[in-house]
Symmetry: D2
Subunit: 441 residues, 4 copies
């Protein structure tokens, strides 16, 4: 989930400082440190691949965001905490200037983790000082944006860490397996032995739908403008595809038969020698899955996750269905606004319950849509470095909807557009099936 977009469109002319903003900001800042708590300095510095970043880098970059976009603009007598950090912790803002190359983020053994914590503390104090006599709407907007940005990186911290730990033959756990059970309990995950409810189809009638964010509360600009789309009749699956169902695809030669795959996906599958989802492995003939609790027996009821778009599309083809468009997903999700409230955070997605309604829309796995990530009609980039990237990523990426169990509470919404390339597997990504419904004669 790259930081995609900017909320300048969300900035009202004049706002009262949201009463809860500072409190939410503080909680968010603390949570990042809390996520790193179970980790050693060594765990925090290493980068497992160019797509992933070290924990320490996430901690520094989210701080850099506040220093660069708020303090540098609004602090009297601004002096940077460290001159070099402007470059070291710039992710991709060409407008800010030079950037330390992404694949080399893991080479930064200095500054140390302790120094990065000090950096965080320093910037937090200066932000607090800036806010103590009230803040302008502009700063409030940037604070909200930085908070949302940091939430995105909190999800990435867990995602990138999972990849790093998975590269270690010792299969180390981020969190104790005993806690895993209680965590599962808290997120309402059912026991591995329970039967998952059969997949049901929810049909939707055709018509012109309003798609995109309507303008109340925070949103990223890629969710706007709200606009009209004609939606032909379709049906959406009640829940995500389970590990058990995905296993049937594998057993049926899913990874060996080109007929199910997009041509580019098949080339990728063959050249990568893929035979199963990213974190699956067999131990003594039994399927296991690497999780943040370490290596666990595969729960057949839980949703299949860490799947690429190519795998998701191949599964859907094999299953006689297809992936939904992002408009279909949003249209359907908007029909069950209550789904959002029930969502909780977890370190691994739980199985669906026995209900047949639309389940697992949020806080389970991000759900691939067949929609290439692009601009909504009338989308316009805003000015300055922060707005430099509107649409910068709108090519060769596919939209994911919903949210995952790694997504911080309160971060998701029906109009949210996440996006990744078609071969990305290290994100918490799963499959919700859709079908076109032929017109009744």
């Amino acid at each position: 989930m790259p930081l995609s977009t900017i909320p300048l469109a969300a900035m009202p002319e004049v706002i009262a400082v949201p009463s809860d903003l500072l409190a939410r900001w503080q909680r968010t800042r603390s949570r990042s440190l809390m996520l790193a708590e179970p980790l050693s300095e060594e765990d925090c510095v290493v980068q497992s691949m160019p797509d992933a970043s070290p924990i320490k880098w996430h901690l520094a970059h989210t701080t850099w965001f506040f220093e660069t976009f708020i303090l540098e603009q609004h602090e009297t007598d601004f002096v940077p905490f460290h001159n070099a950090f402007r470059i070291l912790f710039n992710s991709y803002y060409n407008g800010i200037g030079e950037k330390h190359p992404r694949p080399q983020r893991g080479l930064l053994t200095r500054p140390t983790l302790a120094q990065v914590r000090e950096y965080r503390h320093n910037v937090d104090l200066r932000i607090a000082a800036l806010c103590q006599h009230g803040i302008s709407p502009d700063i409030a907007s940037l604070l909200e944006l930085g908070l949302q940005h940091e939430q995105q990186h909190q999800e990435l911290m867990l995602t990138d860490l999972k990849h790093l730990l998975s590269c270690n033959p010792l299969s180390p756990a981020y969190w104790d397996a005993a806690t895993a059970d209680s965590a599962a309990a808290h997120t309402g995950a059912v026991s591995a032995k329970a039967e998952v409810a059969p997949l049901a189809w929810h049909a939707f009638a055709p018509g012109v739908a309003e798609i995109g964010h309507a303008g109340t509360g925070f949103y990223f600009d890629n969710e706007t403008p709200r606009h009209r789309q004609f939606i032909e009749p379709f049906a959406l699956a009640s829940r995500l595809v389970s590990n058990g169902e995905y296993l049937a695809f594998i057993a049926d030669g899913g990874y060996r038969n080109p007929v199910h795959w997009l041509a580019e996906g098949w080339d990728w599958c063959k050249s990568s020698g893929l035979q199963h989802p990213l974190y699956w492995q067999q131990v003594d003939g039994q399927w296991h899955e690497f999780t943040l609790f370490g290596l666990q027996a595969l729960n057949l009821q839980a949703p299949a996750c860490h799947l690429s778009y190519f795998e998701a599309a191949a599964y859907a083809q094999w299953a006689g269905a297809r992936l939904p468009t992002e408009a279909e997903w949003e249209y359907a999700a908007s029909s069950v606004p209550e789904a959002l409230a029930k969502a909780g955070v977890a370190l691994h997605p739980g199985a669906s319950g026995p209900e047949l309604g639309l389940q697992q829309l949020y806080q389970t796995c991000w759900q691939w849509t067949s929609s290439s990530y692009g601009a909504y009609p009338g989308f316009a980039a805003c000015a300055g470095a922060i707005g430099e990237y509107n649409g910068k990523f709108m090519v060769n990426q596919y939209v994911l909807r919903g949210s995952s169990c790694f997504t911080p509470q309160g971060h998701a919404r029906a109009t949210y557009r996440n996006f990744f390339g078609a071969s990305a597997r290290w994100q918490m990504t799963g499959i919700r099936l859709a079908k076109s419904v032929p017109p009744t004669p």
Copy 2:
């Protein structure tokens, strides 16, 4: 223009053999050989890059198509012309079996060009024999499909040949420059000195449009089903971006400023060291362009061509506009059905005329749209090897509309969907700008 799609949807239950089908088929078959006429055996065997194929391979593959999909199914006592050709000239049909690897098509010095001509002659005679007592609707459909397929490859022959010749420091011409002038005259291209008409904007009102082929005449299945799309108000440029206009982009540092580019496009631009369109080069300080007439002084009035999606998108951003969606393009083009008739074939695209109406929709350059190539709602793949590939290419490709001066007469239509990857430059691709129109208050 990969062979993308199949017309089984186009097959009516029972048809009378179209009166002109055999005549068109014969003309099409002859034209392929005619295109190779000015070339030596050496020109016909070499492959300049994995994306391009040798002329000889095109001549053989288009023949293979008829042999495999018609003769093998319908000829009594079918015996293949040569056993190995089934593999050698299979492009990408997994359902047919093995394929000679695409990047090695240029290593096939045997069969010789003479033998491939013999292959063509043999299959042509057998097809004629099969047809002499009338043909079934199925065969008629396959004949039409093979004809359309061959037309696609005729365009590729010129496209791939141009790339091959461009790799030669001698800048050899496919066609004599003297002929170039008369060719330009024939296609209505104005003199390089004439002023091109200023770019005008054509506005379109919002509403639900019917998109996709309505079902009369030949079409590929990716053009179906015809379905509804809501189109927000937009405006479309009257003509393509000219070389002169594109030169202003270059002069303004277009290839050096990341702010105009999609992030992936910028990485590609930098790592490839791009500074101008594919076939441009400076000779003694003057811009020239490699064409099928050899190296020519750059005609500032003619449309900029051989541009990637990345370059097209960067230009549009720089120009304060955007690329159209494919629905917008089709909607607009449908409003000027007469445009199609005026189109002619040429070896290089001519400049626009003085008219301010929608110009250069067809037979000039394929026009990048911002639409990722995907399935229309309700799109369904058909059975068998020929249908195996419905949608197989529907990922990480962008739709091009219209047609180019290389496209055979009669091949284009408003609903036609061509597609290539975002970095493809060797195709005859240009830019038509679009704009969103804000709602009037």
Copy 3:
């Protein structure tokens, strides 16, 4: 066999024009064309990999050599045949100026083969004209050098052509198989059924040997200066390793056991998925070998060829032996000067005879030595472009001794140093084993 070296050291102050030089020069020039005789234009233009060059390029480059190093220097009112050829057909002489990139030699469909023949004819006439009133020793030396250079390229023509044809699933023959038998007869190859003589060991006593060319007749400068080397006692195998013997290595898991391999060789073997020599393949469970006669049943008596240094070293380790040093090889070969006379040219190496003496030193397969290609003590580069490359290739290459059945008659000698990288397989390369002999107590 890149053109490695230059014979300026061989230029005496004043020489009489060698009586046979022009005759040999004419025969050599004619032979190059003769080698291309059985080929189509298509066969002559294609380049199968960056290491190999098209036949047409060889024909042009050898001509360029005479034009550049003789005519350009010595012809009155020199005008190049074609300006662009100076670049197009320069192999690697930085001193001459720009070079057409090696991997793109196969893209030159123009000049045509006919034009290259014309180029050859033109330069031949001009050389003849230059020589008709007698030539200076300098020109004589350059003529001899160009002749030797062309002989090297004649060997490469067959070598590169073999690789090209091997890439074609049709396994086309350069020469008719019927002729193969007679060719085999001519080269003394025994029938596939005959037993090859057992491998015998020839021991050599220690001492200071003179290594390098002594100065009579033509030689390349990398063969000089003649110098002293101390040679510890060793033994050399009487003949090359046969296909039958190599098959035993394969059967014993030779390609699967790292213990036999150099570390870099093993990495290369694994990543390339090697399981047998380059041109071997199984047809219906029987080993065959691609040859210039097409695909032939593997002759177990014939020497194993087209082996890389890595494979040669692995085989030697497996066989409890080692490769000889180049000094050992030269020292041993010098003891049988009569071996050279018996050598003949063939399109495939023949099996060894029943003799136990040192066999197959020449005109069979080039024989890998364990010696890295380096400068002899006191080696000095000469001046000018032609001498620019003395030693330029003296890194990461291994010396091969003897000659192959592709080597033109009269080209080989005991001091000749051929060299290729450790993974090169497309040359006609085989294995002669050696052993160190422990001192007798």
Copy 4:
């Protein structure tokens, strides 16, 4: 300096336990930890490139060596410290079994540095226990080998760490710059302002020399058997090439002129965009060099270091000289046995003194020779996993002689053969020139 070789040849039938062996062993084990003392956990876990290893990995692997080759063989009731370590810390011993992939050594955030220290402590105690009642000659030999092996890795620790720190834009120092001056003082380095003595030539007469280790004291098996080589007359430079001299090469366009370079070296130079030695950079127009003391102004008197073989050969060609063969180097070094005693350890090589005798043979920079790394005549691999690798690296590597300032005291000797690939630059490698001496008439 990969662990190249094994001393089984050095194992006498029966030995008395060397009185100082255990003391040296203890000092060596302690020194490895001492080297890591100034570093954070983060510094110790990161791997900067596949060629380099993390400090933590070095600490663990050297321990693994004792556990695997001594304890596993000789400890009663051997139980491994941790089962997985057998794989994780195996460098390249196929005979031991699986290996964690080299490029992924930096992904091992677990075991933590603390756990690796514990591992070291545990194995040290068990080795001590094993030795307390006396040890067999076999164990004594293995202990000596493990000690020498650990010394090699101590040099690598500094070498790899230097590379890691150099990748950090903050240019962090391993050791305080103030200490740098005293360190320089301790190693006899002269002030940057002093003039370095002019380069003098030491001539050596021709003759048969004995090359290789004579058998007293420790040696690696690649130094044997001692054998005879004929050495033609040559001269050796009195000291290494200085930074000032190397700068003249750069100023003369050394990195832009192919005439100085080996062909492969030139390709590498161009494709890598090289313009100066690895750790050089300009700051405000002044040349600086990254060192373990951080970024320092370039000392023109100090030897040029971190040069590849390709750069060394190009410099030598430019300077009208050549690199010595390893036999020449050993022959010359043997003539000044006292040179070894004066050597000291330092974190950066010091400038040469005013003497004109053979200087800087040891403890300055490893010195490239023109000799490809190969087997001495009669070299034989020994049995078992530890001997599996005799000669395994003897291809495409060039021999370096002497030692560097990173080499532990007492580790170097005249017969020592270090080796690296021709493009390796991260080692402490410099240039000593040589010349062939023409015979006096």
